[in-house]
């Protein structure tokens, strides 16, 4: 199970590099990268701090630090996914309202053109 902590360290580093590279290439906006950067940094810290993990695991009723790491990672990613679902829902609403507005404005423009001819 100790390998799990090492694996989490490696994945956290990979995530950090991936997000920073994406930021550099403007593939992700800064405001949407913060969640991932904070999550990656937190998981990196926890995976290298068995003492802290033991304390948190004790609070959660989990005696095994790697298992506590797994639970915390799952919880963090669930929260991030939920946050992005909310963002996507708002974007979808805005996108639909904009598409409808564009269609209606084009309709009015076409009507005025036809009326003018």
């Amino acid at each position: 199970m100790e390998h799990l902590l090492d694996l989490t360290t490696a994945l956290s580093l990979l995530l950090l590099v991936l997000v920073l590279a994406s930021l550099r290439r403007a593939h992700i906006r800064v405001e949407y990268s913060v969640s991932w950067l904070v999550a990656a940094a937190a998981l990196l810290f926890l995976s290298r701090s068995p003492g802290v993990l033991r304390v948190i695991g004790g609070l959660l009723g989990i005696s095994n630090p790697p298992l506590a790491m797994l639970m915390i990672s799952g919880g963090v990613f669930l929260l991030i996914f939920f946050r992005f679902s909310v963002i996507v829902s708002h974007l979808r609403d805005d996108n639909i309202a904009l598409a409808q507005r564009v269609a209606i404005l084009e309709f009015h423009i076409q009507s005025f053109r036809n009326h003018g001819n």
């Binding site: 639909i96 309202a97 598409a99 409808q100 269609a103 309709f107 009507s111």
Partner: protein, 249 residues
């Protein structure tokens, strides 16, 4: 250029997606049933000749820049009708399954009853085209779920043959379900204490094209609609950030 002609003005809207085989016939049937009433086809991103056929048959076309789904299309039509000042809008499907000869009766009911929505129902007197056992079971389930919410039985909650007045247009312009809108729209109306009536209408089998309904889609539809109904029952206005003319989901 479509414009309302005085009080009691009616606009017929026809949401359509790839209906080039049926749309001209639908428009001709509407023109024959209610002469002089403007017809607006809302094209939801068709890749066939739907727009050409609709214009050739004499309809105006509202072309959406990309595919929005049925609810998004219908809401766009409602918004335009409200902006132009129409008092009544009747929606009829573009696949030719609804009988346009029923439009005058839907309009009359809208005008005389004062209710906000009139549904052309296949099941008020238990007639209509043959409905599969699975679909009937689904409709019965929706009736059971909706009965306590609406306070009355709705015989055909999935009917797409619907007439609304200006008060409903105002509400639907701001809040309208985007996918599978028929059932959730009833709950949206109920939240505003609006009323609806049903009148018996005929429905024909599809003459062109193919229905896209599969068992998996039916299951998704059932789950989506039931969830949407309960969400609409739970939420109240102002809980969500909604742009002034945004969709309400």
């Amino acid at each position: 250029m479509i414009r309302p002609k005085g009080p009691g003005s009616l606009l017929v809207i026809v949401p359509a997606l790839n209906e080039e085989g049926a749309i001209a016939g639908v428009i001709r049937a509407i023109n024959s049933s209610v002469p002089g009433v403007p017809v607006l086809v809302i094209d939801d991103g068709s890749v066939d000749g739907t727009v050409f056929q609709a214009r050739a048959a004499g309809a105006e076309v509202l072309s959406l820049p990309h595919h929005l789904g049925l609810g998004g299309s219908v809401q766009a039509g409602y918004k335009l009708a409200y902006e132009l000042g129409f008092d009544y809008v009747i929606r009829i499907d573009g696949d030719g399954q609804h009988d346009a000869r029923d439009i005058p009766r839907v309009l009359e009911k809208l005008m005389t009853s004062g209710c906000e929505m009139v549904i052309g129902s296949r099941f008020v007197f238990h007639h209509g085209c043959g409905t599969s056992a699975a679909r009937s079971a689904g409709i019965n389930l929706f009736r059971l779920v909706l009965r306590p919410i609406l306070g009355k039985t709705v015989h055909d909650p999935t009917s797409g043959f619907v007439g609304v007045n200006r008060r409903a247009l105002d509400v639907f312009g701001r809040s309208f379900p985007l996918e599978y809108p028929e059932i959730e729209a009833l709950v949206v109306l109920q939240r505003r204490r609006f009323r609806f009536e049903e009148i018996p209408c005929k429905m024909r089998p599809r003459t062109t094209g193919r229905s896209s309904i599969t068992p998996l889609k039916s299951f998704y539809y059932l789950t989506h609609v039931l969830l949407g109904v309960f969400v609409n029952v739970l939420k109240y206005d102002g809980r969500r950030r909604v742009p002034p003319d945004g969709p309400g989901g």
